[in-house]
């Protein structure tokens, strides 16, 4: 028994030492690359707007994406950045957020934190002037009628304008926008109005 203890405390052989150094190098390299590579702001599910806190906690466990009843939560890819791959992002062309709080409930590590439904902002809607139907012809007001927060109004020419104070980035305007269907675009997520992340998010506040 005594010998057992001695054996377990022998120092690692050169081979193991090399393996360990290799492992350490891979993890340190990966961490460094993850931090250095520039990342674009992504649309996180509600409660995940503090990006620094979000990325430190997200385990990429898939629970929020899977639980979302409107399928608004999708996954970021390696093409977004190594660090963002597999993390949840909002895909408003597939669904909109009704702030049901289920994603926050299931998030095990509170990467998505409990939010105040009155003040939470996922992002805010931006009219894509080159794609929006109302901006180069006229007549379409689908997004305006769909907005539950009256954040979209029409200007004198009947073109949609977003009030950033009222918009909380729920994404229903992007979901219902018919630009892709009515015009001859190829590609599933082209819309005349899109939710953009609030640069800097709440971490600066």
């Amino acid at each position: 028994m005594k010998q057992d203890k001695k054996i377990s405390l022998t120092r690692p052989s050169r081979r193991t030492f090399l393996k360990m150094t290799g492992g350490a190098a891979v993890l340190l390299g990966l961490g460094g690359v993850g931090k250095i590579i520039p990342r674009e702001a992504l649309l996180r599910p509600p409660g995940g707007q503090d990006e620094a806190s979000f990325i430190s906690r997200c385990l990429r466990c898939d629970r929020c994406r899977s639980v979302c009843p409107t399928s608004a939560i999708g996954l970021a890819h390696l093409s977004d950045s190594i660090l963002d791959a597999r993390t949840p992002v909002m895909k408003f062309h597939l669904g909109y957020c009704n702030f049901c709080n289920k994603c926050v409930e299931v998030c095990p590590t509170q990467a998505l934190k409990p939010f105040d439904i009155e003040t939470v902002k996922i992002g805010f809607a931006k009219v894509q002037k080159d794609i929006c139907i109302a901006w180069d012809s006229s007549g379409c007001k689908v997004c305006m009628s769909a907005c539950p927060y009256q954040a979209i109004t029409l200007d004198e020419q009947g073109r949609p304008v977003v009030d950033p104070k009222k918009c909380n980035g729920c994404g229903i305007c992007e979901k219902v926008c018919p630009a892709l269907v009515l015009r001859t675009y190829i590609g599933g997520d082209i819309r005349g109005i899109k939710i953009a992340p609030i640069a800097g998010g709440e971490e600066s506040v």
Partner: protein
């Protein structure tokens, strides 16, 4: 006969776990993956993921202490059952290389020699096989340290368990939402590098296994016992070593000379099934 029986049983439990996770994801139940599997606000969280996010986010996350300690308790109670029966890695290795467990190369060489040489070399240096524990502690240190330095769970990015399910989820997204992505090629490449090219992932490199192994030091149940009166080596003086060479973690249950300690035992039952005289027994069956 029974050799393949336990192995098939293990593959079946692994497959059941994987299928439950895949169905939960495909049907939007919100059960998650092995990183955090649960319903509602109850999670079976990956203990390593918890430690990583804890140091990365500089927050103890009190609500996770209960599941964390439940998993520690289960590991103390059952040992590394996760590695042998739940983790999808052996299942995927079976698909990739047609082998469930990593081969134990270290002891095979010794077995091929005749008895005296083994004893001789053992007395000189081979007996001082370094234990998996020491390298496990270093691996765990590197994993948690890197999370602390960079402020995010670094290992999670390349964890094969996470990537296996990530590949499945990417497939579900591809089928369900027509989302083709590079991830579907890169993730499998990383998995192949880890499980096929690095031959000793489970034994020497996996930090999850290392953590479970350390917790299993306190495990006293489900431990194999040797009936020394039946063992060929003890009763007939034949050099056998079948139990040790069958063990992918190089646990030498008879003499403790292998790189693995009994705390590394994943309860895979290969030793018992490979013993020519059935001298090894597990507490069940």
């Amino acid at each position: 006969m029974s050799k393949n029986k336990t192995r098939s049983l293990r593959m079946i439990t692994m497959a059941i776990v994987a299928i439950v996770i895949i169905l939960g994801s495909a049907w939007n139940i919100g059960t998650g993956s092995l990183s955090a599997f649960g319903l509602g606000n109850i999670d079976a969280i990956c203990p390593l993921g918890y430690l990583e996010t804890m140091v990365a986010g500089r927050d103890i996350m009190g609500h996770l202490l209960i599941p964390f300690f439940v998993i520690i308790g289960l590991t103390v109670l059952l040992g590394r059952v996760f590695c042998g029966w739940i983790c999808p890695v052996p299942l995927v290795r079976k698909v990739l290389t047609n082998k469930v467990d990593e081969p134990n190369e270290g002891s095979l060489q010794q077995v091929s020699r005749d008895g005296e040489i083994v004893m001789e070399s053992c007395a000189k240096e081979h007996c001082h096989t370094e234990k998996n524990l020491s390298s496990g502690l270093i691996i765990l240190g590197i994993t948690i340290g890197s999370s602390a330095i960079f402020g995010f769970p670094v290992f999670c990015l390349i964890c094969p368990i996470g990537l296996i399910f990530a590949t499945v989820f990417a497939l579900i997204r591809l089928i369900g939402f027509n989302e083709p992505t590079l991830d579907l090629i890169i993730f499998p490449i990383v998995i192949i590098v880890e499980l096929v090219l690095l031959k000793k992932w489970c034994t020497k490199l996996c930090p999850v296994g290392a953590l479970l192994s350390i917790l299993s030091r306190f495990n006293r149940n489900l431990v194999p016992t040797v009936d020394r009166s039946r063992c060929l080596e003890e009763s007939k003086g034949v050099k056998c070593q079948q139990c040790r060479s069958a063990c992918s973690l190089d646990v030498d249950i008879k003499n403790g000379n292998g790189a693995g300690d009994i705390s590394d035992c994943t309860k895979c039952k290969e030793c018992a099934d490979n013993c020519p005289v059935h001298a090894i027994r597990f507490p069940w069956r």
